[in-house]
Symmetry: C2
Subunit: 600 residues, 2 copies
């Protein structure tokens, strides 16, 4: 039996019908591409994902990495799958041709990656971390560093990690204590402990490059004294051959609720004071460089969360369509044949909710990737700038919203399967466990909330926030003429005003009462703004569906009807929440701020 985990029809809808990804080929950087090359690459991704990733998703969960005699052992399917991924060129696909890439637009890349995430989130984490680390080296590394480390990272001989978190500091990067001492030879000696380092040790690749945040001795305190270092597991000789093992040791593995296939390590750097490390870029600018990687990783986390939600949705849909159970309430004849689960309105509610969440999150994630392409390569400078602003303000939402609502979708998938859904004999319970990590890693959602309200809303004098409002208004204006969408454009307009009013009230508070009160309810602000953004994304999808439906027939017409119904669900059942949330924010509710430790 083929278990469905991915919906190509919907990918085409978002990629081509909503985002018009073919149009990117008119940009110079993407000129070698066409819809045909995109489709061919997506086809390859889908095949590899199905045959080599999805096939061991359950096995990897049941056989997590173990340390045997100091070596991390991982089931062989993982290495084999990554081999196929690498061989097909996905490690380097978005890079310039001279680096071995094919200059594939980031949005098509993300579309391909989303299939792997749906198939097996924990195995694909290894190449994803490598891609992200390579991007940092490409952007900020010296020519020598690029020459030495990029080629093996782009052809799969060397994997990458990001090593930020320390056991004592958690989310507070200002407090990291890993220290770098300069040597006369030009490199540094690193010393410190890092925690929750995914892919921190394994035998999947010949070498591993850790990108590590540390302080050079004498650096200023806080985040302004953090530098970024490249720390190879094995030294790399000028000719590319591997030298001796560096002073990096695994002090233990973390045992996680989900994502079990991705080894999570605690690493000790410099236990023997010979951890050779190389400064990337300038001293004390490490956090800025790392945020380059982090922002990418955050979009990746959001997309992963959407895909786990998506896979659960598709599985529970298939189950609901094939499992007979009970009768409709109006049928009082106990001898009538049972109907399929999907016939029950409450089951359709659980399916529709999942659809609204996961297809919304998916479209948002690809839209963010499309913004990356525009920001980098659009010929028009104003477009580049505007897309950069949108990307800035949307990043915390792209990370946080799918991680909350993808998980809620997984909850409903289990609920549809009932007792079976709760057992390890069915895949939905694994999706639910896997997805619970996403509201935490790459910055908890509380950190995202502070990023949104504390930085992004106020940055450049509110330019990013204004750009977001303008983009939403444009969609409303365009959709207004369509009678079917009229009700929703009105609702979105109202919600927009509601969010704007709450934001203005908050900014007034910031001036009058200061940052503590301003940020007190930041998480609620993130939730409210997230729902506004998702409603906008749904209206965009509905507009496309409306336009296309006129000439569509058969399964296409049904597909578009489904889009409209999911949009209706979001506008009737979800969007209204922003109004009570806005009220709490406008009241400057002090309930949480005033709560005292000893009242708990």
């Amino acid at each position: 039996m083929t278990i469905p985990f991915f919906d190509r029809r919907n990918m085409n809808f978002v990629l081509y019908e909503m985002l018009g990804a073919e149009q990117l080929t008119s940009y110079d950087y993407y000129r070698e591409h066409s819809r045909e090359t995109f489709d061919a690459i997506i086809e390859v991704a889908e095949q590899i994902a199905r045959e080599h990733f999805h096939s061991h998703n359950v096995k990897a969960d049941k056989n997590e990495p173990v340390m045997i005699d100091g070596r991390v052992t991982i089931i062989p399917e993982v290495k084999e799958a990554i081999g196929h991924f690498t061989e097909a060129g996905f490690l380097a696909s978005h890079h310039r041709e001279d680096l071995g890439g094919i200059q594939l637009p980031w949005v098509v890349n993300q579309a391909c990656f989303s299939i792997f995430q749906a198939a097996n989130i924990s195995t694909v984490a290894y190449p994803f971390l490598t891609i992200a680390a390579a991007n940092v080296i490409e952007a900020f590394g010296s020519e020598e560093q690029k020459a030495r480390y990029l080629p093996p990272m782009l052809d799969g001989r060397c994997f990458g990690t990001m090593a930020l978190t320390e056991p004592q500091a958690g989310s507070s990067l200002a407090d990291i204590t890993t220290t770098a001492v300069p040597t006369p030879e030009g490199h540094y000696l690193l010393r410190g402990n890092k925690m929750f380092i995914s892919g921190g040790e394994h035998e999947l690749s010949e070498n591993i490059v850790h990108l590590v945040l540390a302080r050079i001795v004498g650096a200023p305190p806080g985040v302004k004294g953090i530098s970024l270092f490249l720390v190879p597991r094995y030294q790399v000789n000028p000719d590319g051959s591997l030298g001796e093992h560096n002073d990096v040791a695994v002090s233990g593995l973390l045992h996680k609720m989900g994502y079990r296939g991705t080894v999570s390590t605690a690493l000790n750097f410099g236990e023997n004071n010979r951890c050779v490390s190389y400064l990337i870029g300038e001293p004390h600018k490490g956090l800025t460089y790392m945020f380059h990687m982090m922002n990418e990783a955050r979009i990746g986390v959001g997309m992963g969360a959407a895909m786990l939600g998506y896979a659960g949705y598709l599985y529970s849909l298939d189950y609901a369509r094939t499992r007979p159970q009970g009768r409709l309430p109006s049928n009082k004849d106990p001898q009538a044949r049972p109907v399929m689960l999907v016939e029950h309105t409450d089951v359709r509610r659980m399916l529709l909710q999942q659809k609204a969440y996961v297809e919304g999150a998916y479209a948002l994630g690809l839209y963010a990737a499309w913004l990356v392409d525009q920001h980098k390569y659009a010929p028009d400078e104003q477009i580049r700038k505007n897309c950069g602003l949108l990307l800035d303000i949307l990043t915390p939402i792209v990370k946080a919203w799918p991680s909350e609502y993808g998980l809620k979708a997984n909850y409903q998938a289990i609920q549809i399967l009932g007792g079976y859904g709760y057992t390890r004999e069915y895949p939905v319970e694994q999706y639910y466990r896997d997805n619970r990590l996403n509201p935490i890693h790459e910055g908890t959602n509380g950190i995202q909330a502070i990023d949104l309200l504390g930085r992004k809303v106020t940055m450049f004098d509110g330019a990013a926030f204004k750009r977001l409002l303008a983009a939403i208004t444009e969609t409303i204006e365009q959709a207004k003429s369509e009678p079917v969408l009229k009700e929703w454009t009105g609702q979105l307009d109202q919600a927009l005003t509601t969010v704007e009013t709450a934001t203005a009230a908050l900014l007034e508070t910031l001036g009058q009462e200061g940052i503590e009160t301003y940020l007190a309810n930041a998480s609620l602000y993130l939730e409210m703004t997230g729902h506004l953004v998702l409603a906008w994304i749904w209206l965009r999808q509905a507009s496309v569906a409306c336009r296309r439906m006129e000439s569509a027939s058969g399964s296409d017409q049904k597909f578009y009807r489904g889009k409209l119904q999911a949009c209706r669900y979001f506008f009737h059942w979800e969007l209204p929440k922003v109004h009570y949330q806005s009220q709490i924010l406008r009241n400057m509710d002090r309930t949480c701020l005033d709560m005292q430790d000893d009242w708990f």
Copy 2:
């Protein structure tokens, strides 16, 4: 290190200050009791729970029951713990003295049980199932059945199960096919398969009694043809000694996400056509009898969900108080000492949300148990009747609300611990996995929603619903005079009207458009009404806190302040949801009803 999992201070608050449980001792049935006997029994429960249940909670999760040579093997700590539970008299405590009980009020019983649930939900499931099965036999069994089965069930030699679900029927009990054939000897021969039977096979007790739903051959179709049977694992001779093994076989174990210590079995009855079974009560009345057990079990599920949420709350509170991390946003000095997590407003939000959910659910659960006592033993017939009505209408809420919101609390506990919370090295991830079962078993929350709107709201011409509204109104009237509560009484009054209006609109629809439209959004109705009820419970707690605070000092005063702040959280952050939910219901929203299978 002692890990906190239970809060005695809050138990005392609910049991004595809010519910006035001592007053039950004025009822004839409870006349031998006093506050002192209650406290002594609770003390024993707390000690056994800590020393013998909590101590192996993690171990039971990591070592789930296995089948070895057809026998179910369970870690020895489980049997030992249940031995202490039994020895202390908890299996029989609520029963009459002539049955070996001590006539303990059900609310005090539940208070004790809640400690065991917080300590180890999967081990205590075995005695709980036994208690529930014994209650059914006591209520509906023949004198001979009582004489033969009750004594060993009340002293722990024989455990009980409830066997309803069949693999093909799931939630649809009308479709069960297990068949009972009468024999000339007066017993029946049973044949059929049951699924998800907790405690269905083990060596913890000498014998097991399964209470099984089945159809006598020739019975009417549907739920009106279901009878209840007593099926012992081993035959019991008239003298109480055990006879031969009955024809009940385990066909497999389920492997669950959580509750791993509770063995979940698939059972085959009558594979060799010699499964000797005894009819309980009259034929075709099995579902009514089983609902006696189910209603009790549903309150137990709600309480268990509350306690898992509670244990997670207490753990994350302890963590937040002792884990230094970061600084307040207004502190720009990176060299200042980090503050404890609890100092961050967003962490306090996550703690306050947990507190509002779990203490609300806990008070609701004990209130329901108190209603059981009133319904059975209050001298005033009107009180007995009214409490019975309240219990009827509240049962689906007592089951569903804590199972939703206890799980949400567990989500926040993990979030506070961050990456650590997601690992199996900390207990909060287990609570989260355990609690995911509660929205499913003993009737999924979708089933509870249909029970509430489809049966309970309309039963006795709406008498139960009216009784609930009246009870809420009484609390509002009593609280009005207190200035501190004025804002909340107004809000609750508004919410009450909102729920009432939505209900009236729904009932009108029922008459005009029929049952399908009426029940279409039943789950939302359950959510809305649940929040109304919880706000009511919180106002009751706040009223008590207000009254007591005047003369309180020290830690008591802080405790009451915490109660008021949690109530404030619920009224500011949660209760407003009922208004948009009511709007959807009043609109008779057809989004889910109109959705078509082939649009997904």
